[in-house]
Subunit: 404 residues, 2 copies
């Protein structure tokens, strides 16, 4: 008899009085700017991170698999204890979660691109001339609420510029449907084709939605049609309370992170992108929660900009925020990132991410401070992102012994 | 929904202009000759390996599982990105690939031992008095081309001394057949027994082949019979182009390595066992390929001889070959071995193998040079052999991001 990983932890989880800070510094991992130099984290002055690393245990984590750079969705689901390869969430669902939309199990989501159609219905521009958000937002609103099949509502939300998403809500829906984007111009959009017999009706409803939406866009010069991609059913994920008996809250300034947090049952506190707001909302969250996920975004953004020095500055700001959060009195603190975003690489990368866990029962590391090279000798070793939460639960006295 | 490892990488792979050198120094890993001493690699003077290690990232790799010494087949398949426990290839197939025979999907291969039978058909020597290759080779040739069942050809190739292999080629064959070697003397060979109903006809054809072969050996004093072992169907493996969109070539002097390379779709360049030949063929391969696997054999052979100093010399020769290869201008270079062959152990061993990856986006190691102890603090950590290729693809800009 075999027990799977999720069932193992679920069976061992027990409630406790301990309070946990789960602090994600987005894209914290980096690379040296020049051979022999330090990374962004190694260049930054981070007295609080260094102290926690020295009092606690450090290591390096791989989010998905060696060589694989994760998006924010799988990066965070891994940190929340989910195996990212066993918890595939389609792009339509991720995009919808990412704008903070509250999906319900059974919903089918897809991405919308506004497009330009000529008089014969052929696509002439797959992105509708890259219309601005000012143009796209009211168009998305115009499509919201179309009813199809008598019992299915199509909720449309604007994402950015020529992009939006549609959520089909009703009974018996199935997201196994092919894209309608033909990928080339000069041909009409594809009709929605079901990839599984169970999705036949949903594909018909999607076709009805496209017809109704196109009618509502008639007369628009550039955005007079839509292309649908990334159809996916939202099955729901078990929440952190159900899995780990945690009362979990999220403090995050950006919709993507609030969306992922909500998907795993966290109570979401929408913060401003400031130290004061993060600390104040964390204080508030601690009233009714014992686990607070705090998200710090700017490190990733500066990495994507390719601005090494600005990322160093943001890591220092994240360190100062951490110092202020610690005044709220936690029993266990974890600090890490959802992925690396080296400024020299200007994108999410596959490099393992530094992690530290600070708590009452920590082994000493083989090197001091919090940096990529020091973490090579950390007491946690080189592990998977999904293993961080169980180690935190153990530090917090929240996992029973396995077996007699 | 779950995605398996191979599908994950296949879905993320994208072509790029980058050129990759994949340099396998067979059996490179070793052990100290005396307590406190260095390994063969640590004793060798290897300026090029040391420089690439310091500019790149190092680590240690385990080919199959802790404690398991691999043969050359699984050792190389792991380096080519295959999970060796999910890519079982039977001994008959490996032996056949190992002599450079070009198997086709659907072929069934088995190993042959020539044996001695007495007048009543009982086995008196399971290895035919260990006849020499000079005796064995023409006997194998004598058995080649036997036809059975009207539509199946039995191709026989000599391997070494009393060993050969047979390839059954025809439609509808199935290799799930038990060995005919009785493992003891004084009894007749077993008849081929099918282990699955689908293999019933193939087992009958194997019996026909044995009868015809024994007739052709009548009058031989020692090798007047055959025993068949390791029956296996060859299903074919997906190639590196299909899996990773690599145009892959192999430069190798020995048939075993050419066989494994061919099995994963590489174009094979048969080199002499010299620096000049390896470099010239690699240059030629780069004309139409972007990934070149170069195999260096003598390190393993000297390890199996138990000759520490000779293995040190061969590691130095491998280092000089590497220096010459680098002049051909690669974007990413990986150097490792398919297994360790410590001279003190005189055989393939289970010890993790030093690995280095050199490319544009490398983290610094915690120690300098290329040796087993330094690699303990390498930035790649301690990983599996099958994870080396994905890390190389990432360095080469050949893997997309996973998830939004």
């Amino acid at each position: 008899m075999t027990i799977d990983r999720q069932s193992l932890y679920r069976s061992l989880a027990r409630p406790a009085d301990s309070r946990i800070l789960y602090y994600v510094i987005d894209g914290i991992g980096g690379l040296p700017r020049e051979p022999g130099g330090g990374t962004e984290l190694e260049a930054a002055v981070t007295p609080t991170l260094d102290r926690l690393a020295d009092e606690g245990s450090t290591g390096l984590i791989t989010p998905v698999a060696p060589g694989v750079a994760p998006g924010s969705g799988p990066g965070h689901l891994s940190l929340f204890g989910f195996d990212p390869l066993a918890t595939l969430v389609g792009r339509g669902v991720l995009e919808t979660l990412g704008i903070g939309f509250e999906l319900r199990p059974g919903d089918v989501a897809a991405r919308i691109n506004f497009c330009t159609l000529d008089g014969r219905g052929n696509v002439t521009d797959r992105r509708a001339g890259r219309i601005s958000s000012e143009v796209g937002a009211p168009l998305a609103e115009r499509l919201d609420g179309i009813e199809v099949g008598g019992d299915v509502t199509c909720l449309v939300r604007h994402v950015k510029e020529y992009r939006a998403c549609v959520i089909f809500r009703g009974a018996g829906l199935d997201g196994r449907i092919a894209d309608t984007d033909p990928q080339v111009t000069g041909v009409p959009p594809e009709v929605p084709v079901h990839l599984d017999p169970a999705a036949e009706r949903t594909a018909q409803l999607a076709a009805e939605f496209i017809a109704a939406a196109t009618a509502r866009l008639a007369g628009e010069e550039r955005a007079n049609g839509i292309l649908l991609r990334g159809f996916d059913s939202f099955h729901g994920l078990p929440g952190l309370e159900e899995l780990y008996r945690l009362k979990a809250a999220a403090v995050a300034a950006y919709p993507m992170y609030r969306g992922v947090a909500r998907a795993v049952g966290m109570t979401v506190f929408e913060s401003a992108d400031t130290l004061a707001s993060r600390v104040e909302l964390t204080r508030e969250a601690l009233g009714a929660h014992d686990f607070v996920f705090v998200h710090f975004k700017a490190t990733d953004s500066r990495g994507e900009d390719g601005d090494f020095d600005a990322k160093v500055e943001q890591i220092e700001a994240a360190d100062q925020t951490l110092a202020a959060l610690l005044a709220l009195d936690f029993d266990v603190v974890a600090v890490t990132g959802d992925h690396s975003t080296p400024a020299t690489y200007r994108a999410h990368s596959w490099h393992p991410i530094p992690v530290l866990i600070w708590g009452p029962h920590c082994r000493a590391n083989g090197a001091t401070g919090f940096g990529e090279t020091a973490c090579l000798q950390g007491a946690l070793g080189q592990i998977r992102s999904m293993d961080v939460l169980p180690l935190v639960l153990a530090q917090a006295g929240r996992l029973e012994k396995f077996g007699a």
